[in-house]
């Protein structure tokens, strides 16, 4: 996951200030990838330090704004990154995994309760994303919103995988102490 390359990509489109970058970021990835101003500014500072972005002050003293502009080196960095497939698979660093690892002594009911609540949260998020997708489809998928639609899809597929995994855990845990599995019918 790369805020760095996201910001480089946005600056490759046009110079922007921090506020505009936050808005642009939310526009392409909003709803499922929350980036706060702190992350934006700390990432931008690093980009400036690495010579990938330069900053300049525009406007009169009372309304001055710091605008960021991508450098040639920055453009090269972004294009190199863009052309390469991503070798990393999603890391298993979800909070839920960590919580499960520390559920000790083994308390089956507490784990099942946690998993059920987690599953509901994911489902609620999926419902929200689905609503966004439905509204997009109603307005007609165009070149402008196709990428948003595909990103929403990605978020939905990931949440679906998380829910499937939780259901899988629930079924295994229920069986673990000899509770008979529910028969098919």
């Amino acid at each position: 996951m790369s805020v760095k390359h996201g910001l480089l990509g946005l600056l490759a489109q046009k110079p922007q200030n921090g506020y505009e970058l936050k808005n642009s970021f939310d526009k392409i990835a909003g709803g499922f990838w929350d980036v706060n101003y702190g992350q934006i500014y700390s990432t931008i500072d690093r980009l400036v330090k690495d010579g990938l972005v330069i900053s300049s002050v525009e406007g009169k003293e009372s309304v001055e704004r710091r605008v960021y502009q991508i450098t040639e080196k920055g453009v090269k960095e972004f294009k190199d990154w863009l052309d390469k497939p991503s070798a990393k698979i999603r890391p298993l660093r979800d909070e839920v995994f960590v919580k499960l690892a520390f559920m000790y002594p083994f308390d089956k009911d507490a784990i099942l309760q946690l998993l059920a609540e987690q599953r509901q949260l994911y489902l609620a998020k999926m419902a929200e994303l689905t609503r966004q997708k439905y509204l997009l489809s109603r307005n007609g998928i165009s070149r402008d919103n196709l990428m948003t639609d595909l990103l929403l899809d990605a978020a939905l597929f990931h949440a679906e995988a998380d829910i499937k995994w939780i259901e899988h855990c629930e079924a295994k845990l229920r069986e673990f102490e000899g509770e008979p599995p529910v028969s098919d019918g």
């Binding site: 609620a124 999926m126 419902a127 689905t130 609503r131 949440a159 679906e160 259901e167 529910v182």
Partner: protein, 237 residues
Amino acid sequence: MVNKVEMKDVSKIYKRGKSEFRALNGISLSIKEGEFLSVMGPSGSGKSTLLHLIGALDKPTSGNILIDSIALSSLSDDDLSQIRREKVGFIFQQFNLLPTLTARENVLLPLKIANRVSSEAYRYADEIIETVGLKEFNNHLPEEMSGGQMQRVGIARALVIRPSIILADEPTGNLDSKTGEEILNLLKGCQEQYKQTIVMVTHDAKAAAYGDRIIRLKDGQIEEEMEVTNALPISNI
């Protein structure tokens, strides 16, 4: 808001020889007019039984079910099949189209069975065929259509009688994810356009996420219930 369906303490027990299987265990549930309800749950949790009982395809062992305030338990078998013909639209995972009939003939079939063959009914049928995007496929046989097109016929056939409720059983279970999304968008669109009440059974979270409310069954009971809240009401957009 009017309740389209009321279930009061409904149980369904199947007897196999001497053993009993309690498919539904004291379920109470109200489904509001115009609501899209998703029903989730693992295999054997009672999802299909619930759908069959609401659709008057089967009778509960105990408890009451009302559709449009009509108590199904008070009805004879003939009256029950009339309820099915006139008030319930079914959408199936396997589409269940008649292979020798064209798309349009399949859509018109419920009207013929219910003996509602007025020109107004036919005009409405053609409007629905257009809504579901099948106008060009009017004269195609099911074997000449893709899965997505067949399910569009399935949706049109369910809508054509202006049902009180549509019952959909894994409607995207036989479709790839892109086609499934198109079908669910269409179903959601029909909910909106026709104020259609929909109950959809699915084990698929992506499909269930289209509901306004999602319930989860386990061992014949409602284990969890979730209103989809923090979403904007569609009509305001």
